[in-house]
Structures are given as C-alpha cells and as structure tokens.
Assembly symmetry: C2
Homo-oligomer: 485 residues x 2
C-alpha cells in the first residue's frame, strides 16, 4: 500500500493516456512554424488554458517549469529581483518547504534579509504575526497553502489580506488539484507529480502587474521566465490530470478526510506514547502525521515497508543531514518515530484498516527490546510543559535556574543518535528521587525537541537547556529534567 | 517528411518502450527508503551508468538536468562561480548556441568579461585564435562539439589541448549519441530530445577535480547541481535511447552523410543563386544548410511545409526577434532564404530525392513574381568580395572611400524587411553605369550580411557601410555597392 502521495502521486490514468497521445501528436518543437510544430503549440496553449482555469488565473500568467522546486526558486528570486527597489527583505513561515528555505538562505547569502515567522504547535502561521513581520523594505512574502509534512492548512486568504502591496508567493504544491487555491496570491507555485501528473512539470503563475525579473539568462520561452526546451507531452499530461483530479476531488476528499480522521482518532488509542501532530481541523483531507516515543524512525519505516506500507518520516534518522524535520522543529513536537501517512485518491478503507491493525504490532515490536514503561503517566499524556517553542532548534537557551543544578544525575548520550538519548532518560530517571534532576548530555539535534516532548508526554518537568560544558560534556548541549512523578 | 532533427528528434522507439516501463517501475521518489523508492533509485543509478559509459566519463560526474539549455546555464554559471578566483573572464566561440550567448550576456551584466572568438567563413573556430583569447583571468572557455545551424564540427580536442588549466565546457547537444564526444572537456552539456530521448532531460557532466559552485539555492539531488524532483522515467528513457542511438550511429551516419553530400552537391546545380554554407568536410553527417538569394525564409518554409517538408531556417523573418541567426552573421554568409535540413535516423533516400525534386520548383515559385535575372554572373558565383567578416553585424564600418560618394543612386529600403532591400538592389543596379555606385539605405539587420553576400554572388563590388544620415536616411545604415558588370 502506497501511503506517501505527499512525496509523489502515482501517475493518474488520465495523465498516462494524455502523455501517450501527446508523445504522438505533440512531440515537435512548439516554436517551429511547420505543421507538427504548430500542432505541438496548440496542445501547449490548450494545456495552459486548462491549468489557468483550474488555478483561477489567466493563461498568460502561467509558465511551466521543470519542477515545483524550480517554480519556487524562480518565483522567489524573480519576485525579489523585480521588487528590489522596495528593499531586500523576505518573509516566510518557518514551516515552508525546504526549497523555500534554501532559496531564502541563498538570498541571505547574497546580502538580503530574511524573517521566518514562527508557527503554533499545530504548524499554523498566525496572519497577524505574519503581517507584523512585514516591513517597508519587504520585497516578498511566502506562505504555503498547506503544510507538506503535517497537513495543516495555512490561513492564506487572511494573510494575503494583510500583506497590502507586498507580493505574496503561495506554494500550493501540496494542495493544487485537491482543493481550490486560496485567493490573494501574487505568485503561485505547484508541482504536477504531486497531483498525479508526470514528473518534470511545475507551474509558476505570476499575476499581471506583479513585478518580476528573471534570475536566469534570457530565453524567450514560457514568457521569458523558464529557459529551456518546453516539455509539451508532459505538460499536456499534467494539465489533463489536473482537470481530472479536480473533478474527482469533491468525492475523494470527503472520503479520505474520513479515513484520516479514523487514523487520527485510533492511533493514540492503539499505540501507547504517541503524539498525533498537525491541525486537527484546518487540515488537508488526506494527510496525517504522528510520532512514536522511543522509536527509531528509519527502523519503523523499514518494518512498515516489510509489512507492505510505504510511508514517509520527518525523523532525523531518515534525513540525509541527520537533522529532524524543520517543520516538526518549528512546531516543537516529538520528532522520533515520526510517520507521515498521505493517502492517494482511491485508497481503500480496508487498506487503512489493515494499516491500523499492523501499526500497533510493528511499533510494539520495535519497542519490545527496550523494556520501558509505556503506560500513560498519572496525570495523563499532555503537551510538553514548555508549550510551543518559538524559534525552536535555533540555539540553546539557558534554563530558568540560576547556575548549574547541584548533584544531578548526568546521562552522557553524546554521540548517540535519536531516539537513544530519550530512551536513556526514560530508563534511568527512576534512579533519582521525585524532585531530583536528570541532565541529558546530547549532541544529536533531535534531542532539543524530543527531550521536552518526552517530558510533556511522560508527565515530567523540562527545565531547559544549558551548554554541555557546565556538566562535563565536551560538546553538544545539556537538557535538564526534573522528576515530578 | 521531418527534416528538422536538429531542433528535436522524433522519440526513438526504445525511448518510448523504456518510458512506458519506467512509468510503471520507476514512478516513485528515488530519495525514499521503501521498496518502490529503492526501485526508482536503482533505475536512476543504472541510467546514470549508461549515460556515463556512452559519454566516456564516470557515473558520479553526471547530473541530469531538465534540458540542454539548463545544462549549459548551470555548467557555465557553476564553473564561472567555482573558478572565480582565477578571474571573471569567459571565452566562447561566436557561433555557440543562444543559451551560451545569453548566459555570457548575463555574466557580462553581472560584471564579468566576455570574449567571443570569431569563426571562419565555414563557421569553424580556429584553435590558435581560441587559445589566443585566453588570459590569466579566464575562468571558463566554451566550445560546441558541432554547430547546430550549419553542422560544422569544431576542433574541440585541438582547442582543449591549448586550454591548459582553463576549464573547457563542451556543448555536445548537436552531436551526443551520433558521434563520440571529443576528448579534453572539463564540463559537458547535452540534451536527450536531440538524440531521440524524451523532452525534459539534459545532461551536465563535470569532471572530478573541476571547480564548480552551484549558482542556484542548495538542493541535495543530482550531486547538489540540479535542484528539483528527479524525473526518473524520462531519464531512464533518455539513457536507453542514447545507448540505442549510439549503436545505430555507425551505420546511419555513413548513410546520412552520403544523403547530405547529395544535397550539398545538387542544390547549387538545381537552384540558381544559392549558397551552401558550413564546412564541406568537417561536418555532422546529417545536417546541411543553404541560403537562397531574393527569397523570404518564412515564405519558403511555408511552401516547403505545404509540400510536406519540415525544415528550419536562420533567416531573420523566421526569428522572434527579426534578426538573422548569429551563426550566419558570424560566418558572414547570406541569411535570406535560409534552409537547414537535418535528417533523422532512418531517413529514406527516396525522401531526400523528393526534396531535391520539389525544392527547385518551390524556390522558383517564390522568386517568379520578382522577374529578376538569376543567371550566374559573367565571372561565375563566388564568395563575397569582403571575405570572412570578423565580428560581422556588431556595428557599422566606414567604407574605405573618403567621405560620401558623390551622386550615387540612393535606394531607400528603410522599414523594408529581408529580402526586400536586396531585391530592390538587384532590380535597380542596372540604372547606374558600370563603375557607378548604388547606396542601399536599410534598417533591417539582415541587410548588413545580405548586401555583401549578394555582391559576392552576383559579381558586384561591396564598398562598405556608412551611417544612413550621410545619404539622407533618418535611421539605419547605408550599404555601398559599385557596379562592376
């Protein structure tokens, strides 16, 4: 069962048919004047009309890119360059796709300024906070339509209304085709393979009147915005599948919403020590994410794969950089044992039931060797005492105690990867009396999120973070926990 | 008959089969750890090995881009950025693909320096001249493997041998798959749809040890060189067709070479007042270009299209910018009535014969209303008296006469598009006595090339160019011609 449509959707049957037909009819260079060239041009024009209609804009506002990432990069850099007389300040939410964050990094590296607006514990950007980050020299604001890791739908229309004349780029990669694009965007980015179209097609829409200056060398194709030979067959397939998906969405969204609701409600009952993350109400219909305490995400994904389920994870162990997802970090939630389930159109109820039947065994199997107490704490599971952490993961904060705690139990988890520091903490906190303090020394980035999350879930008190050197560590941080039960 | 494979090749059957199979087997995200993701990764790895083998490099030197243009842009900007400590000087031949010229423009606009090395009348860059353009601060040199408009094969290996430690980017878009890539490149760019692969795939190869710094925001995919979701099915199809084409090339190249030789030899015999351009010996097997005096390129292409032949043109009337091809301009050859014939693998001899049968009638039909003398001049047709024009089209030169000619016949062709200024000249030169002078006032860029070319072909003497104002024109240039026969 493929439950990772948020990474890429299986090719929609309509896309496959359109692709096959367009390989025959639209293979020639649409810039050429002979018959096969004109035919390719007509197919391209028709595809542009279709995409414009579904996205709610004019055909001449649409440029086709090679990917959603390219649409984001060109959209951001082009709008920043086009609006450079306003200034060089960029605003985006802290939970944007990595393509947005990397483009922001590049902008900052070139002398621009960047403000990342924090999100709440559900991953939602507050329109007022977003608006407050805007300045007279803000050249561009960027906000996703919905989050790709936790499914939270962002308040785009409310935010757009507060942006005034600052252009707003909406990254609609996770929602285009499935739900209507919210009003108010100046630039829009999307990706065909996310909605069931082929790989190799992204969409960059730029509203008439929005200043844009291409960051790339000149090229007359795609309105001067996207250099390179135009991939007509893939664009035709992308457009055909977008229309098809949009038509199926009303029925499928309601059905998948219910299946996701089932997962959201039942996973916490079936699996102990689990945290379902993302907005429970303002969410994408087909996507749900949860994290399992004491579980290695990569091991969990491997076991689920063996059981026949393809899912994704924001745990650090599944990332090439060995850092936890910046989305989960910005939300301040547990990152270990993280699982993202995203259901394709047509997912059968029975397959979701099978997943719910398999998951508890799989998680239990991974946890079994640890021999840890998984019963809910006396006060019940709750959110971490620290609450939402603004700018979480950005640096160390000193705990509210004055100076180092005297005589704590110091656990050296330096060099140990997630979830080992938290497992160590869970195993040994019983060695101090109630009221006593445990210090976890760790250099794995995930510990910064997972130790506070563990405290919240297990009814212990998180005191804060200090330099590891204060407790004898030669690197990393010290995470202080008071035993309260 | 599709005779424009230099624009794009029809999809090779092997590419289509591989694409269909890879849409089934390689549709998932190759960065994912579950089974379908691992399978996509294996297909991608295998495709990379295949392409590396055919191009003669290591698999980890290959990055897949979205197009040949993107490969050129990233290759040039990445190498310029990576070698910026050497300096900011860029060298390329004057007949590179527009993607190279536009990237050079962008580099110059950002403060870099650019030298375009002139070519000879056959469009060939001289290795010694190329080497002479290199400086201690040269960060990159760019040379195509073969010219895309006239088929001239460039002396890449000889030039590379003279480049020393200056990295050489070879744009192999027109030859990859058809002929071996010449030795000596540091970076290589190619495009799958030119060899019969699908659109949406380019190749950027960067030799180990060549300095490269991505000009785009960070992205871990494709060795950090090409951001965006990797289009596995298209890449698999590109690799499969590259191998297939390379295997067929030996047989097809010889056959097409003979067919092109036939066109080269017979067109000047069948069509009066025609110039076949490009190197007659060091040339691509499948490509030939010629220009027809007094003929509007767009009209000619339209008539050939109606007769069933899809060909291309470098005439100004067929360009979106209404300027003649920079390649023909750099060669200093006739640009009006320009036709590029490029034969796909499998082109039947009978179809070439049919083209040779149809062409004379079509050209004669276009010329008939003009009532011009098309017989060869007394001394026979020849090259323009001015010979190869270095930096042709770059600006106006003053004729070698001192001051304005007295009492010439001034023909006002201002506002008239190619080929009208030359037609006007041909019609009216008889009005001056032998030894007399005709001045053509024209603001169409093509006149700068076509008036001298006409003189050469019609046995008249081209005196040079002067500001139009000297002869009563309010814009454009004055082209001076002395009647000698």
């Amino acid at each position: 069962m493929y439950f990772d449509v948020a990474s890429t959707a299986p090719l929609h049957p309509v896309a496959r048919q359109a692709l096959t037909a367009a390989l025959d009819e639209g293979w020639a260079d649409p810039a050429r004047l002979y018959r096969s060239g004109r035919q390719a041009r007509m197919l391209l024009d028709a595809a542009r009309e279709t995409v414009a209609e579904v996205l709610g804009c004019r055909a001449d506002e649409i440029s086709f890119t090679a990917s959603g990432t390219q649409a984001v990069q060109l959209g951001m850099l082009g709008a920043l360059h086009g609006n450079r007389r306003r200034g060089r300040h960029l605003v985006h939410s802290a939970v944007e796709h990595s393509s947005v964050l990397h483009t922001a990094d590049r902008h900052q590296g070139a002398g621009g300024e960047v403000t990342a607006v924090p999100v709440d514990r559900h991953g939602r950007a507050d329109p007022a906070a977003f608006a407050a980050a805007l300045r007279p020299d803000t050249a561009l604001a960027v906000l996703q339509s919905a989050n790709h890791e936790v499914g939270t739908v962002q308040p785009v229309a409310e935010t757009a209304a507060r942006c005034g004349d600052v252009p707003l780029l909406v990254d609609a990669a996770q929602s285009a085709g499935r739900v209507d694009v919210p009003a108010g965007w100046s630039l829009l980015a999307a990706s065909a393979h996310k909605w069931g179209g082929p790989a190799g097609v992204g969409v960059l829409a730029v509203r008439k009147g929005v200043r844009y200056a291409s960051p790339l060398p000149a090229d007359e194709r795609e309105g001067g915005r996207v250099p390179g030979y135009v991939n007509v067959p893939a664009i035709v397939a992308a457009a055909a599948s977008l229309r098809a998906v949009r038509a199926e969405a009303a029925r499928e969204n309601a059905r998948l919403h219910e299946l996701v609701e089932r997962i959201r409600a039942r996973v916490p009952r079936l699996v102990p020590a689990v945290e379902v993350v993302g907005d429970p109400v303002r969410r994408l219909p087909h996507l749900v994410t949860f994290s399992c305490l004491y579980v290695d995400g990569e091991v969990l994904l491997g076991e689920l794969d063996r059981a026949g389920f393809a899912v994704s994870s924001g745990s650090s162990c599944t990332s090439s950089t060995l850092t936890p997802s910046h989305v989960l970090a910005a939300m301040g939630v547990l990152t270990e044992g993280n699982v993202r389930v995203s259901l394709p159109f047509g997912t059968a109820e029975a397959d979701v039931e099978r997943f719910l039947a398999v998951l508890p065994e799989v998680v239990a199997g991974v946890r079994a060797p640890l021999g840890l107490d998984l019963a809910p704490p006396a006060g019940g599971e709750g959110l971490p005492a620290a609450g939402p952490r603004e700018g979480a993961g950005a640096g160390s904060e000193h705990p509210e105690t004055s100076g180092p705690i005297t005589d704590p139990l110091v656990l050296d988890a330096l060099g140990k990867r997630c979830p080992l520091p938290v497992i160590e903490l869970a195993k040994r906190i019983g060695e101090v009396p109630v009221g006593g303090t445990v210090v976890v020394l760790a250099d794995d980035e995930a510990a910064r999120l997972d130790v506070p999350a563990w405290c919240g879930m297990r009814g212990q008190e998180y005191l804060g973070e200090a330099p590891a050197a204060e407790y004898g560590g030669d690197r990393g941080s010290a995470y202080l926990v008071r035993r309260v039960s």
